[in-house]
């Protein structure tokens, strides 16, 4: 477990260093994720230890959002002043985003499988 956690932190650090030196508009952990993904693709295997640790961490991914969520108490005034536009925009936009992404993806999947059929 210790080795796997160290590995994750090393990749996160590599990500942070790359973001800062290359002035990228994305956060370090995302770059770290891409680097680790590329490493795994090249090595063609994942150690059981890394698999178990990442599973443990991701199983309770939602816990990690709780501290930032409690931050709502620091913004009560703005939120109560603008609750209607915030609530409607947030909910409607989330519904639209889920629906449009899902429809676009299944449409494009159908299109590409039709092409495959035509090819063969």
């Amino acid at each position: 477990m210790l080795g796997a956690i160290t590995l994750l932190l090393v990749y996160q650090t590599i990500g942070e260093v790359l973001v800062h030196t290359l002035n990228l508009p994305i956060p370090g952990p995302v770059v770290g994720m891409l680097m680790l993904f590329i490493t795994l693709v090249i090595r063609k295997s994942v150690s059981q230890e890394l698999r178990d640790t990442s599973q443990g961490l991701l199983q309770h991914l939602s816990l990690l959002f709780v501290p930032a969520g409690v931050g709502v108490m620091a913004h009560f005034t703005r939120i109560s002043d603008e609750w209607l536009p915030l609530l409607v925009a947030l909910l409607a936009s989330t519904v639209l985003t889920i629906a449009i992404t899902a429809l676009a993806m299944s449409g494009l999947l159908k299109l590409s499988s039709k092409r495959e059929e035509q090819k063969s």
């Binding site: 994750l8 995302v30 680790l36 993904f37 961490l57 991914l61 939602s62 709780v66 108490m73 639209l96």
Partner: protein, 245 residues
């Protein structure tokens, strides 16, 4: 125990990071227990429940958010390594990923643009202030990325963090019904759309449904972070002429 003694102990404990960390874990585990007992009913989202309990606890005890965060930051910190760890489920889906590359990218672009334009557009129509709109724009992207984007756009990063969490919660709650109505059965598609709209909280929900849905949600979350960081300044500049004089 005498109330005065209790207050003294609370004051003593609040000054150490121990209390913030402990109550976060306790609240989450209680919420998760309830969520599990309900057979993972999306309405009993554990993030929503634990945030509600913790806010009430902090307000009634008069504890400041900054004091609480001194302890809770240890949990918050794990978001970084957890994001890196998403590479592993992603790798297990690598073969599927290769086959679906173009549909994934097309859906990502459509979803990312929808998330930004619809949130800012609806907020603007209903009269939200400029600062609020800029804090709202990256709401579908995972917390650390969204905060960075909001700062660049002129929003308030900590407000963005809150809006991101509430977007995630609402996405995790509503996704099943929306996708059922649209008759989307493919778990890759279900996971991916939840990940684009509702980042890590949607991903956590998707992992409870299946590993495939979770992996695609995690992928969508990472990609949407990248693409929103790249296109949101551009989209808002274009629409700014019409929308946000």
């Amino acid at each position: 125990m005498m109330p005065q003694q209790f207050t003294e102990i609370w004051v003593y404990l609040s000054a150490t990071p121990l209390l913030g960390l402990t109550i976060t874990l306790l609240a989450y585990q209680a919420a998760y227990w309830l969520y599990k007992r309900s057979d993972f009913n999306p309405l009993l989202n554990p993030v929503a429940l634990s945030v509600a309990v913790l806010v009430m606890l902090l307000l009634t005890s008069g504890t400041k958010y900054e004091t609480y965060f001194e302890g809770a930051k240890f949990v918050h910190f794990l978001l970084g390594p957890a994001t890196v760890a998403l590479a592993i489920p992603l790798y297990s889906q690598f073969e599927k990923l290769k086959q679906m590359l173009l549909p994934l990218l097309g859906a990502l672009l459509a979803g990312a643009a929808t998330a930004i334009i619809s949130a800012v557009g609806i907020g603007w129509l209903l009269g939200a202030s400029h600062v609020t709109l800029m804090s709202l724009a990256p709401k579908s992207v995972t917390t650390p990325i969204a905060m960075g984007i909001a700062e660049k756009l002129g929003g308030i990063p900590s407000l963005t963090a809150v809006l991101v969490i509430f977007t995630g919660i609402s996405g995790a709650i509503m996704a099943k019904s929306i996708l059922d109505v649209l008759r989307i059965e493919n778990h890759a598609v279900r996971g991916f759309s939840v990940g684009v709209a509702a980042h890590g909280i949607g991903t956590a929900r998707a992992f409870q449904v299946s590993e495939q849905a979770g992996a695609f949600a995690g992928l969508a979350m990472g990609l949407n972070g990248l693409i929103t960081a790249l296109i949101s300044p551009l989209l808002l500049k274009i629409s700014g002429l019409v929308l946000l004089q």
